[in-house]
Amino acid sequence: MAFQLIDTGGSRSFPERHPLLTAAAERGEVVVVVIIGARAAEAFRSVGSRERYAAILIELGTECLGTHTGEARGEEGSNVLGFARFRLGTAPPSDLVELVHQPRTPETAISAARKLFEDHGLKVALCGDFPGRIIDRLVRPYYNAALRRLDEGLASADDLDTTLKLGLGYPEGPIQLLERTGLAEHFDITQALYAACGDPAYAPARRARVAKQRQKT
């Protein structure tokens, strides 16, 4: 599938070389446009004749796809989709692409987007246009709870981690994982979700807040 890559620099999904980046078409009819990087929004606005593509894919940060496309009565949806390769803090990106659609996104656009990512070794989870998409929405309350319970002395950090590894087969316990990938980075994501949803479960735990304050200084 021929596709055009618009790389505005500073992509969180593709910080390094990846087969998908090198596979972008230099010639042939472009079917899909992929826009990545910190200035993806600006680049998207400059894409003309959008209807001629099967799909236009914009890399998302913590924002919703609707901020780029606009929304209307729950009936929005076009060939424009959002995506992000899931990444925990400072860890490298995972193979998971969260592909964001809107209520009326055509199936043809979803299929084209899915195929492009899967053809380059990535796995796709389709999700609606909600803050936090799938993973952040699920794991941030769990990480906050683990940090709070550590403060409250429910168990030692090692025992918390051991319990979740042995009890549920998780490859890493929450405390070890947050230390490895960055407590301050957890703060950034969970603070954005707290602002978007107002749910106290997303309110950054004290240890994340402390790490953020130390990062600033």
Binding site: L96, G128, I135, L138
Partner: protein, 291 residues
């Protein structure tokens, strides 16, 4: 080293039978108590089947299994546990039921016998309060299936003596298990984190954020979990999830522990999970469709 030689297990359901296997396999003389002879017979049959597989898989020899099974006996009388150094109760998760059992055991067991509870949702201190020996009482929460899972969450009640906790901790290690120490808090560690996490996953489905297969694929791919939360819920059964989550919510009143409405609707529709052929996925035999 452990001072414990003889182990009692009260209750011969799935957990009780599994705990008895762990104790007997580690070389402890083990006595299982249940008032229902048919439950004991069923547990014995399952236990023999489990050990037959252990021989098949060359994890144990037939001689070892013969010795283990000879040391694993059953009784329908509480008095049958009189010689035990520790008794682990794994009966129904109801405070009155547990207190009734412990009162009877307290009459027949010698003063040195430690009582332990495998509760996953009740307070160790509250159970201990009806045991007649609050200082010699400890929480030992095994994971399902106990005979395969190494983890044991151990909690002291408010009145548990340090000596009791240490003796039980050493015994747990002597059984080849991996104990972790947790406060006597609702859900201890595992259920305290798992139940709300699973509820959140159900809420994602409920809100239309993503389909179950997408949620499970996302979690497994991004975080390396062996199962997605919705697959796990189908395996556990939504009826069981409801019971544990209701107990956790009653104890904590934390919003994430509250069971999403979708769970009750699915239970009403008979979609309990694998055991009814459908939950978040549809099953035929053991094969999973969808995904």
């Amino acid at each position: 080293m452990t001072a414990i030689k003889t182990v009692g297990v009260a209750g011969s359901g799935t957990m009780g039978a599994g705990i008895a296997i762990v104790a007997a396999r580690a070389g402890f003389k083990t006595i299982v108590y249940d008032t229902r002879p048919e439950a004991l017979a069923r547990a014995r049959k399952q236990t023999e089947g489990f050990f037959a597989k252990s021989v098949e898989r060359k994890k144990l020899t037939q001689e070892q299994v013969d010795r283990i099974l000879a040391d694993l006996t059953a009784t329908t009388e509480a008095a049958g546990l009189a010689a035990c150094d520790i008794v682990i109760e794994a009966v129904f998760e109801d405070l009155k039921v547990k207190h009734g059992l412990l009162e009877a055991l307290n009459r027949v067991c010698p003063p040195h016998t430690i009582f332990a509870s495998n509760t996953s949702t009740l307070s160790i201190t509250e159970i201990a309060a009806g045991s007649g020996r609050e200082d010699r009482f400890v929480g030992t929460h095994f994971c399902l299936p106990a005979q395969l899972m190494k983890l044991v969450e151990m909690s002291p009640g408010l009145k548990t003596s340090d000596e009791t906790f240490q003796t039980a901790w050493d015994f747990c290690k002597a059984m080849g298990q991996v104990p972790v120490k947790t406060k006597d808090n609702p859900g201890f560690i595992l259920n305290y984190f798992l139940i709300p996490f699973n509820n959140d996953a159900i809420r994602l489905v409920e809100a239309g954020v993503a389909a179950p297969a997408d949620i499970d694929r996302a979690i497994k791919t991004a975080l390396g979990y062996p199962m997605g939360p919705l697959e796990l819920l189908d395996l556990v059964g939504l009826d069981t999830h409801l019971l544990v989550a209701e107990a956790l919510y009653a104890a904590t009143h934390e919003p994430r522990a509250a069971v999403p409405a979708l769970v009750r609707r699915m239970i009403a529709a008979g979609r309990l999970g694998r055991k009814t052929g459908g939950g978040f996925y549809t099953y035929s035999g053991n094969a999973m469709f969808g995904g």
